[in-house]
């Protein structure tokens, strides 16, 4: 895989961080959907089917961000997704809001546990990337 640099199809130096956070959220969302013995499934199943629907929505959002990184940063310059690039900060804030929503639902049904630290860490990463994207846009 070619590592992108400035002027070769990417305009952001944080492409790996964005990919890392998006894939991490994608895995977190897929765990309760694919494994019913997991702790995440047991935490979300107490809220009924809505918890799983929210998990599906989070997976879809993470897929959009992964597609944004692949198309806008890793593929050649003639391929681009303008809308995701334009609203990248909003996408990451929605990702953080989705994670916080799942955290709220899971805490409502049970107590705080060490599993929730992972949610909090992903929220911090998503908010940080949204701010970095906005700062980069202000600088340019």
């Amino acid at each position: 895989m070619r590592i992108p640099h400035r002027g070769a199809g990417t305009d952001s130096a944080y492409w790996f961080s964005r990919l890392f956070v998006a894939v991490s959220v994608l895995i977190t969302g897929l765990i309760p959907l694919l494994d019913q013995r997991s702790i995440n499934y047991q935490l979300l199943a107490e809220s009924g089917e809505m918890g799983l629907i929210g998990s599906w929505a989070l997976v879809g959002l993470a897929c959009v961000i992964v597609a944004d990184v692949i198309v806008n940063d890793l593929m050649p310059a003639r391929f681009h997704l303008v809308s995701t690039k334009k609203h990248r900060a909003m996408l990451f804030m929605l990702l953080a809001l989705g994670e916080a929503s799942l955290l709220f639902i899971s805490i409502k049904g049970s107590d705080l546990s060490i599993v929730h630290v992972r949610f909090l860490w992903q929220i911090v990463g998503a908010v940080l990337l949204a701010w970095l994207d906005m700062f980069a846009r202000c600088r340019t």
Binding site: H87, A89, L97, L103, F104, A130, C138
Partner: protein
């Protein structure tokens, strides 16, 4: 004349204290519901986290809109901009969370109420602050401060070159009044141009 700092403090006070009555109403509503709802601190903390994220989303949305409308415009009073957003987001979110807990709402309705109230509170106070500040202070966060982006200026359309010449400026000769003798001889103080060496 009232100084700017005084007005800014006044607006701070208004923004801070305008939520005090609503918090009082929330406390009354909680007490009227019988016993005060037993709210776990972890749940309240996550509700505040949701409120913070919703407020940051509203803030970034506003900054993004500012950048889209006028990329070269500096953001005035950023501390007031951010503090009004976040304070009102927290207060609206805590109010929504308290009322939802008092009413024993479903967790999804409670979640939606906290997020929507935080976002709407931040956006509403931002709009109100813009409207008030544009009247009180000369420099505000909207275009009423006199700032215009380069795209806002209306220049006259340029005439195509060579089609029709622009009217040249006519030379106005100063006419001597009648009776005055005009000295046509060069002044002796000035050097004669014929004597100057090339």
């Amino acid at each position: 004349m009232i100084g700017r700092s005084y007005l800014i403090r006044l607006q701070h006070a208004v923004l801070l204290f305008m939520w005090a009555p609503t918090l009082g109403f929330a406390a009354v509503a909680l007490e009227r519901g019988g016993e005060v709802a037993a709210i776990s601190w972890a749940l309240a903390g996550v509700a505040m986290l949701l409120s913070t994220l919703s407020g940051i989303t509203a803030l970034l949305w506003r900054v993004e809109r500012e950048l889209r409308e006028a990329p070269d415009k500096p953001l005035l009073r950023p501390w007031l901009f951010a503090s009004s957003h976040m304070a009102c987001s927290w207060l609206a979110g805590s109010l929504a969370f308290s009322l939802s807990e008092a009413q024993n709402l479903n967790e999804w309705w409670e979640l939606a109420a906290v997020i929507a109230a935080s976002f709407a509170g931040a956006t509403f106070v931002q709009a109100a602050a813009e409207r008030i500040l544009s009247k009180l202070l000369p420099g505000t966060m909207d275009k009423s401060m006199g700032y215009r982006s380069p795209n806002d200026y209306q220049y006259p359309p340029m005439r195509p070159r060579g089609e029709r010449p622009m009217p040249q400026r006519q030379q106005v000769e100063r006419m001597a009044p009648p009776g005055e003798v005009v000295d046509t001889q060069p002044s002796p103080l000035l050097p004669n141009p014929d004597d100057m060496e090339p």
